[in-house]
Amino acid sequence: MATEVKFYGFPLPNFELLKKQGKLIVIEGPDCSGRSTQIELLKEWLEASGYAVLNTGLKRSRLVGDVIEKAKKGNTLGKTTLSLLYCCDFADQLENQIIPALSAGYIVLADRYIFTLMARDIVRGADKEWLKKLLGFAIVPDLIIYLDVSIDILLARTFQKYGHLDYWESGMDIQLSADMFESFKKYHFLLKREYEEMAKEYNFVVIDGNQGVGIIQKRIREEILKILQEEDKNESTGTI
């Protein structure tokens, strides 16, 4: 069943009357919170149940993907420029991947969405109202899952995954501390505070990400089933 698409702010030009068949499910959480592991499992599960699934994330667009990579290697980039690059990247993905998939009836699993962009920028001193308006062309998702992981566990997983701390993911660019370890902790503390505030404002389903992969997966599936069952009901009444 086609439902009307809602935008957070001003609708995207040329998509004002957009309808969607599919569902947009967003998984949010900091780096190493286990998002991609969960998304892989969800994809398999959903495809096995007969749903077409699109897995999409940030920083992957053909438009400015490599500009962002290049920019982050140097260190002369301004913070507003970086915000706008990410925003542009997101717009491209929204228009060229997410929207076509949603119109075609796919379930779109978004590995991070505007909330990560907002959290990262707010921590870097961006004006929240500015960001909200800027990113207002984002479609309101059907479900937003937030994986809440304690900073100590994030730290442990970061070492497990990369073997070292990453400059950007430790927030070294905002000079919270000259010590990367200290900076990581402070940065993630600030990020967490932003996510938690947004959780209320945007109705996140907060899941304790400190648990085992299987337990988290079960919780996410329960939430997804809720929105899919609604759809099933509508469909069956439609056929009768």
Binding site: P13, L63, L77, G78, T81, C88, A91, E95, G125, A126
Partner: protein, 248 residues
């Protein structure tokens, strides 16, 4: 006179002067700003000049995207915003804060005009550029669309896809589309001129006449202007106790 910059921890006022030229393609604005630059340099000022779409970081991405016709109104707008923001944060604002004269061939109003013509929400577009300071003076070179088009087409055989506004779907004919698109842009500028307090210059006058007007106006904003070097000299003299020393 100074506009507040929202967020991102930037300074709100600037010591320098920011002169901007705006107008549709073929309005003669680039000629005028080059002459203004020559004059200011002749007077001994250090001038920083920057033009639209010239960020080292972003311009290649823009070029590539345009060549492949990949852009929608939103991404068109944001990509140009990235280019501007990069030049603004790294070049324009630091120069202004240091007290230099900055000349911009096109500023945020070009984006306003083009993006709104493409169907972006005007309030959204203005939000995107909220971080930019208001110029000291914005000159708007106003010409009828026929003259602008004649000037652009002289010596050129082809107009590019986005330049002609082909993505707006106004016409399948490039020249016709270009004309309709530029008319829309001119309409937008005319509205902005009132809203944003542009100084409108009749772009059909002779180049010298226009330049004379531009220089007269610029001069008015320079009477209390002190270039960074002068200010530096002043401050060292003061430090050495010669407080009565004054620069004429």
């Amino acid at each position: 006179m100074f506009k507040e910059i929202r967020g991102l921890g930037l300074t709100k006022t600037y010591e320098g002067r920011l002169f901007v030229v705006e107008g549709c393609d073929g309005s003669g604005k680039s000629t005028q700003i080059q002459l203004l630059k020559k004059w200011l340099e002749f007077l001994g000022y250090t001038v920083f000049f920057t033009e639209w779409n010239s960020s080292d970081l972003v311009k290649n991405a823009t070029k590539k995207a345009k060549k492949k016709n990949l852009l929608t109104p939103t991404t068109f707008s944001l990509l140009h915003a990235c280019d501007f923001a990069d030049r603004y944060e790294r070049l324009i604002l630091p120069h202004l804060r240091a007290g230099y004269i900055v000349l911009c061939d096109r500023y945020i109003y070009t984006a306003y005009a083009r993006d709104i013509a493409r169907g972006c929400n005007p309030e959204w577009v203005k939000t995107v550029y909220d971080f930019a300071v208001k110029p000291t003076v914005t000159f708007y070179f106003k010409v009828p669309v026929e003259i602008a088009i004649d000037r652009v087409l002289t010596g050129r055989t082809q107009i590019k896809y986005y330049e002609a506004g082909m993505d707006l779907g106004l016409s399948t004919d490039t020249i016709e589309s270009f004309k309709l698109y530029q008319s829309k842009i001119i309409q937008m500028y005319d509205i902005l001129a009132g809203q944003e307090g542009f100084i409108t210059i009749d772009g059909t006058l002779s180049i010298r006449q226009q330049q004379k007007m531009v220089r007269e106006i610029v001069q008015r904003y320079l009477h209390d202007y002190k270039p960074p070097a002068q200010r530096w000299i002043l401050s060292t003299f003061n430090r050495e106790g010669e407080t009565r020393w004054q620069l004429k």
